[in-house]
């Protein structure tokens, strides 16, 4: 009797657990971190759960749960052509980060709530935003060495604003997290002309460097020569001063010579005579001593 009761009790517990599990499966659903869940009652959205956890619902067919990935999705549009304000054909591709911000709107406006369908919608919105914004700017606002004139970020910001405005008008439950250019290019034929221009610019640099080298070298050398000449001239000036100082010093000895200018004169002339070199040729006549000894030699006049 006891045995039977015990057995029945165990059976009852097991049954109850099974019922509870079954009920949980029917009445409770999980929302994973990174998911948003929308609950519909007879097809009409009634509640949205964005926080992770377990929640209550009525079983099918009364209520149904739709879950969407609410993480930031990456998307980039096709690399497509637009004309800038100065009629340059610019190819560009824009990337965005977007996410589902309103599960109910998303469910209602995007067919099946599918992400590819949403991205198709985004592609259209991006294209029209790019058309609207790029045409308002010159190429010089996309690339420019002057940060004042470069409006790269501004252009991205304008596209972002346009896309945001469109998203809020369409109200499709999508929010834009970030946007930026992923790629910028020029048409095939234009790259050719850019190359031609670049080539001529390179040539200009080459000839500039070639002539600059020689000119600069010339300048440096002539500056050095001028400096050298100056240095030597300075040195000569200094040398003259030194010599003049020497002469001034020597002039002090004049008082000595002044005691007898005749003797001084004589000694100077003797010195001068000593300083004649070996190559000098002198023509003398007999009146000069010591040749005056020859003056009265009888042979001298007879010989002629």
């Amino acid at each position: 009797m006891n045995d039977l009761m015990k057995r029945n009790f165990i059976t009852f517990i097991i049954g109850a657990v099974l019922v509870v599990i079954f009920a949980l499966l029917l009445f409770v659903f999980q929302v994973r971190q990174s998911e948003v869940a929308v609950v519909t009652t007879f097809g009409k959205p009634v509640a949205t759960y964005t926080n992770a956890g377990a929640y209550f619902k009525l079983p099918w067919p009364i209520q149904k749960v739709y879950k969407f990935d609410q993480r930031v999705q990456n998307f980039e549009d096709k690399f497509s052509e637009n004309y800038t304000a100065d009629s340059v054909t610019l190819l560009s591709s824009v990337y965005i980060g977007w996410k589902i911000s309103d599960g109910q709107r998303f469910l209602l406006t995007i067919r099946n709530g599918s992400i590819p369908d949403a991205q198709q919608k985004l592609e259209g919105i991006l294209r029209s935003a790019k058309n609207a914004v790029i045409g308002k700017h010159q190429l010089s606002e996309f690339v420019n060495p002057d940060p004042q004139q470069l409006k790269f970020e501004g252009i991205e910001g304008e596209i972002e604003q346009t896309v945001r405005a469109q998203l809020s008008t369409n109200n499709i439950g999508i929010s834009l997290e970030f946007l930026g250019f992923k790629k910028i290019g020029l048409p095939d034929s234009v790259t050719q002309t850019v190359f031609d221009r670049m080539k001529s610019e390179r040539q200009q640099w080459i000839s500039k460097y070639d002539s600059e080298g020689n000119a600069e070298a010339q300048k440096i050398r002539s500056a050095a020569e001028r400096q050298a000449a100056e240095t030597v001239a300075q040195a000569e000036l200094l040398a003259n001063r030194i010599r003049a100082a020497g002469e001034a010093e020597a002039a002090n000895t004049f008082t000595v010579f002044q005691q007898n200018p005749e003797l001084a004169n004589f000694l100077l002339r003797i010195d001068a005579l000593k300083n004649f070199g070996q190559k000098s040729t002198v023509i003398l006549d007999e009146r000069i001593p010591p040749f005056d000894l020859f003056t009265h030699l009888p042979t001298n006049s007879v010989a002629k």
Partner: protein, 359 residues
């Protein structure tokens, strides 16, 4: 005793189906034993059920337990690392999400690079370079002065907020990649071609690094940028032209450097020459002063003798001096004419003979 009694009772109450009873008994035994086996199996299954909740985490990953979809623990506490056992309830209560986090993540941007095949990449050769760039195939960026260059970047980063990295972005690494692509275009638009390629490569790299950091922070990707390697090259179509510019610039620098060293030589030798001139003047001065002083000394010595007999003194000095002089110089002696008139002397000065070339 009781056993035998029992048997006895059995025997008595059901004497007929004794053989049948043995069969049932055997069946009962079999059922009982198999029920015991089932019980053991069930216990084992329950044990296995709980043991299946144990898991380990690999060295290059982290794990997060989601309980009813929600991470267990806050922030970095939610991250389970390697080195020990962890336990989680089986699905659908808990779910273990593994996050592959190597120490460093890498993304590469080739949005500004021309089309290459992996084979070409290995050999470093590139065949079939067209005259222009096909925008559908070849990537490039536009510089501030509207030149086309190729650029590519390798970015390494660490994940510092894995919960955000994994649960807030469908593909965070793709987002990083997009940011890197964007920043390369943006930075190139600020730099002139020569700065980007040669004069300010480090500045370019820095600018990229900073902007990637800023943008990923703005987007709250939960990462920290470690480093960014950038390669910028001129278009292959213009490689020789760009190379020639560098050669020319180097030649210019070489010419200038040579001129500088030559100039240095000139200045130095002028300095030496100047020193020579002043030194010569200095020594001439010393010599001159010394000799004058010497002469003055001699003069003072001779003065007394001269004053005693000037004429004799002159003869005494003059004759030997002329004699010394005559011993070295060429001399012509010109005697007096017989008639006593002065002689007329004519000198014919020939020009130097003109030298013929080659002589």
């Amino acid at each position: 005793m009781s056993e035998s009694h029992e048997h006895h009772e059995h025997d008595h109450s059901h004497p007929e189906p004794q053989v049948q009873d043995a069969g049932t008994h055997a069946l009962g035994e079999a059922l009982r034993s198999s029920f015991a086996i089932v019980k053991v199996v069930m216990v084992l299954m329950v044990v296995a059920f709980f043991c299946s909740g144990f898991f380990t985490v690999g060295p290059s990953e982290k794990a997060v337990i989601l309980r009813f979809g929600k991470p267990v623990g806050e922030g970095s506490k939610a991250l389970l690392g390697s080195g020990s056992w962890h336990w989680a309830w089986p699905y659908p209560i808990d779910e273990v999400v593994r996050i592959p986090i190597t120490e460093q993540q890498t993304v590469q941007s080739t949005v500004g690079w021309y089309f290459t095949t992996p084979g070409e990449e290995l050999t470093g050769e590139n065949i079939g370079v067209g005259a222009s760039l096909d925008p559908a195939r070849d990537g490039y960026v536009l510089t501030a002065d509207r030149n086309i260059i190729h650029t590519r970047a390798n970015l390494t980063y660490r994940i510092n907020d894995p919960i955000r990295y994994i649960f807030s972005f469908a593909s965070a690494s793709n987002s990083v990649q997009n940011v890197l692509d964007n920043v390369l275009i943006y930075t190139a638009a600020h730099f002139k071609v020569d700065d980007a390629l040669y004069t300010d490569v480090a500045g370019f790299q820095d600018a990229v690094l900073h902007r990637v950091s800023d943008l990923t922070e703005q987007a709250q990707l939960g990462i920290v940028i470690d480093n960014c390697q950038i390669v910028n090259i001129p278009p292959r179509q213009l490689k020789p032209d760009f190379a020639q510019v560098i050669t020319s610039r180097e030649n210019r620098n070489k010419t200038i450097n040579e001129a500088r060293s030559k100039a240095n030589d000139i200045v130095l030798s002028a300095g030496a020459q100047a020193a020579g001139i002043t030194n010569a003047a200095q020594s001439a001065r010393v010599r001159y002063v010394t000799s004058i002083t010497g002469e003055a000394g001699t003069f003072t010595n001779l003065l007394a003798k001269y004053q005693a007999n000037p004429s004799l003194f002159v003869q005494q000095f003059f004759i030997p001096a002329v004699g010394d002089f005559m011993s070295t110089a060429n001399k012509w002696f010109l005697p007096q004419r017989a008639d006593g008139k002065p002689r007329e002397l004519r000198l014919e000065l020939n020009r130097e003979p003109v030298q013929k070339p080659g002589q």
